[in-house]
Amino acid sequence: MNESISNLWSIPLFIIIPILAAILLNVLYSRKRAISVTAAVSSLALIVVSVLSPFGFHWFTGQPAVLPTGGYTYRADLLGWNLALEYYYGPLQQIAIFLASVLLLFVVLIAINSLKKNTGTYISLLFLTFMSAAIVIMVNDFYHLWIGVEIGSLIVAGVVLATGEAVSQKAALKYTFFSALSGAGLAIALALILGVTGYANISDAIIAMPLNDASLASVLYVAFGFTVLSWIYAGGLAPIHPLKADVYGSAFPHATILLQTQSKLMLVAIGLVILRLFGTLPFAKEVMLSVSVLTMMIGVVMAMLQTDFRWTLAYLIVSHSGLVTLGISLGTVQGIIGGLFQAVNDVVYMSVLLLACEGIYYFGRGTSIKTVSGIAKRAPWLAVAAIIGAFAASGVPPFNGFQSEIILIQASLNYGMPELAIVVLMVSVTTFIALFKGIYNIFLRPDDAPQAGEKQGMPVPRMLYVCLAALIFITILFGVYPQLAINFLNEAALKVVYIPWVP
């Protein structure tokens, strides 16, 4: 699709539709049929807009910062006055928003089928989760980036609180307190960049960045530090990974699908901004790589120690965030493609595993690998889904995880750091062990209490089967035909490396 320089009307729809849906769903509150129709129509509208929207800009202050040709519109005589608050919609944004809106549709349909009360308020929070992710992935200015991250963290707290459990309330409290710190940090970073460059637009700021001015180096490092802090927070990277793992583990599994999608999109978006803006600073990539490696290692080790399948997945999501950031942090075209593709695949196969986890909850009235057993006999299809998800997450061919992990390994080797390739392999193997420990105990271990009627499960929403089938199809499709996704990611990777001022 050709890029347009006109002020695209379709881009704000990714924000307007979820907000309108959220308002309407709140008003509808507990009228289930009306909520189902509104939520389904709104999600479908988002899918349609993501497919049909042309590529280009939507700007709020008169003119775009950068032309599609790479040309540049800012005027030096109007320093600080060309705000150019803008969104950009390109191939990366298209695949990310398309995938997020498909997952939103699945999640709201499952939520409507499984929840008994206050459905409208809860579903409205799911729509706002999507909205915050859409803002952050499209944004090309610090102002909206900061607002997207702030709104996103408040909504995450709301989604987690919906379970009503004590563990969720504590997770939400900790997460919100840290969001206050991280949000303040991002605001300070914004202020520093604005002070140093005079621009809120990322493209403008990159051009005006005084990288050779030694007197401003400390300011740039402080701005870099605060931006990395918000990256770590938004993506749940080490050393604050327990906060995010708590959030994933204490939310409903179907909600975790959307939460982890939001996290991955924020990781990608903020990671690319850091690379574009600070990539040439000495040690910037090294800091990012260190955070990635720490996240991967700590995440998988913690996943191995869990005795609840839900928490195993929570820590694996954190660990696999490190795979995404590893690719981005390498800063090469191959590395960035690997990181972006890993984000896409991760969202899909983790969704398969989380839906399988929700299925386990219905069949076994819990997800503990100590108390739930023998599910394969009652739900063989669920066992197959969980095994496919586990194979994909472990990087076993022909599933999608294999394709992105092999790119990451090649990128690490080409970058001259074979030790990173070894870490990726180690994460794959450990993921396999952690997942199959849970799968064996829950599905294949003989039932501990086989008396009739003692372990009657709850009715499983039919929508769960449909969503699992669709996600497994995508898992295999991207595993067999990786170019279907990679074609959307090439352009973003090339721009970041060669023309970073172009979003």
Binding site: L79, A184, A191, G195
Partner: protein, 124 residues
């Protein structure tokens, strides 16, 4: 030598607020006090953002008839800082509301406001 002008003093005041707020959030045990510390932190950030736009002897950033187009960008105070502050106030209020709501729910459950007890799941 550092010049003690209004902008420098204002930045110092902002830094003091940020440090007090950060210290309170990290080291105080009472959840309400932590929330108050967060508001101090937020105020410090707001002050830093407003100070950023300060221009010595500057003019209000409204382009009035007769104002020189060439001189305006260099003399007018930077308007973007106060713009961000406005948003930060709204976000700060929302965050405070969420924190107070969760604190109330946890107080009803555990009967204490001590973060150390609440997070361990201990009752008063």
């Amino acid at each position: 030598m550092i010049e003690l002008n209004l902008q420098f003093l204002s930045f110092m005041a902002a830094a003091v607020l940020v440090v007090i707020g950060l210290g309170g959030m990290l080291f105080l045990d009472n959840l309400i006090k932590k929330i108050i510390a967060f508001t101090l932190l937020s105020d410090g950030v707001n002050l830093a953002l407003v100070t950023l736009g300060y221009v010595e002897g500057g003019i209000v950033s409204i382009l009035e008839p007769g104002t020189s187009g060439a001189a305006f960008p260099t003399n007018a105070v930077l308007i973007f800082g106060p713009g961000i502050v406005l948003t930060n106030i709204v976000i700060g209020v929302s965050t405070t509301a969420v924190l107070v709501a969760v604190t109330m729910v946890l107080y009803q459950r555990y009967g204490t406001l001590k973060a150390s007890k609440v997070l361990k799941g201990e009752r008063k």
